[in-house]
Amino acid sequence: MKNSADVVIIGGGISGCSIAYNLAKKGVKNIVVLEKNYICSGSTGRCGAGVRMQWGTEMNCKIGKKSIEFYEHANDILEYDRDVEFKQGGYLLIAGNEREYEQFKKNVEVQHACGIPSRLVSLEEAREIVPHLNTSVLTGATFCGKDGFLNPFKTTDAFYSAAKRLGVEFNTFTEVTGIQVEKDKVVGVQTNRGNIATNCVVNATNGWSKGISEMVGIDVPVYSERHQILVTEPCEPLQGPMVMGYSLNLYVQQEPHGPFIMGRGDDKEPRDLRMTSSWQFIEEMAKTVDLLLPPISKLRVVRQWAGLYNMTPDKSPIYDKAENVEGYYMAIGYSGHGFMFGPITGVVMSEMILGEEPTIDVSMLNLNRFKTGKLLIEPSVV
């Protein structure tokens, strides 16, 4: 392991690997990534594998759209000899009540202003898109054919491999134990395998971002929350798009190689770092699927697992540098959609670190917004 670096990135998920790749591509030579477990072992590797453009805020729409445009060519751009398994089967968002449907209408207007090809669809059309969908409990739906599925492991591996070829040093099973600050300036990082002198640290740890920020004395208003997922045995192609609803509390998608992957939230989850599985989740999930997508309930569950959402008060991410600690950067608080935003996270953070003109102006996603109250409240999170 190097004992000094120009940039140290903490976290080996999609965000950390994408930031490392973008910095290296722009010519930064001495980059080190620290990961306390193995690459993609945290929130990225546990996510629902969906990517979408259909958001409720202009900012998230812009980031989501640009990220998907990158993913359309990810294998080529990252010169990846495996396959990131990108499938654009679309997202069918379903509303369970009038209020939610009114919100969908507003969201579609925001999406259209950003050039996103989403549309309101009637319940009849929703049944044409997903024939086994029980529309009797729905009030409306929207669809965007550009949304879809992407393999989180392979995508992260693609960024990791590309960054490695550009000379980035990755240290797995290396846990950060402290960040040294002198005269309000970052001077080094301490790990269980030794120290690294550096004037630039990027926190890309999502679920664990609060603890890392505490190491430099910054209190970020984020908390982590367990979200659970299950996967079924594989079957013949049955469902093209992701089916997702907020009030109905589900997302269900068939992966390209056959299994269905599905999840739901639980607003009674305690705010902590546990990632254990519960029987309550599997039972509630089964009941929801049995009601909304009956044929899928004939499939067997083969596995369930959990990961962390890193929640902010407005459910939008934080891309910022610290005001009072020079050289401390944050790309955190994705509130459940860090994987989808991966490509743009790397672009905007590398631009911020190098003082370049931003591709997308993300200055509104600053940390200070939680003090000033200028929030970007995202209504569309399961």
Binding site: Y38, A286, D290, S297, R303
Partner: protein, 93 residues
């Protein structure tokens, strides 16, 4: 042994694929799992797990007992979602 032998029957992964990944530096069960899907199919690693761990042990010089297997996740065997839903609704009655 023939390197084209399939050692993960759920996801059709050959011995050669596993050995190539180990050579490329993917030296833990979890890392190999995330690239190949070994251990993610209906058997949940019950068939292939020992074989992959032995390959890792042989390549890295570790003892078998020191090679870490994946996290065992519920359910123990595949269960139909409809059956779980039915039992869940019965509890509510």
């Amino acid at each position: 042994m023939d390197e084209n032998t399939i050692i993960c029957r759920c996801e059709d992964v050959t011995l050669k694929e596993v050995r190539d990944l180990i050579k490329q530096g993917y030296v833990t069960y979890d890392e190999i799992k995330r690239i190949t899907r070994i251990g993610m199919g209906p058997c949940q690693g019950k068939t292939c797990g020992q074989l992959v761990m032995r390959e890792i042990a042989n390549a890295t010089g570790q003892k078998m007992q020191d090679v870490k297997f994946q996290t065992n996740r519920p359910p123990v065997v595949g269960v139909k979602l409809g059956l779980i839903a039915e039992e869940g609704r019965r509890d509510e009655e």
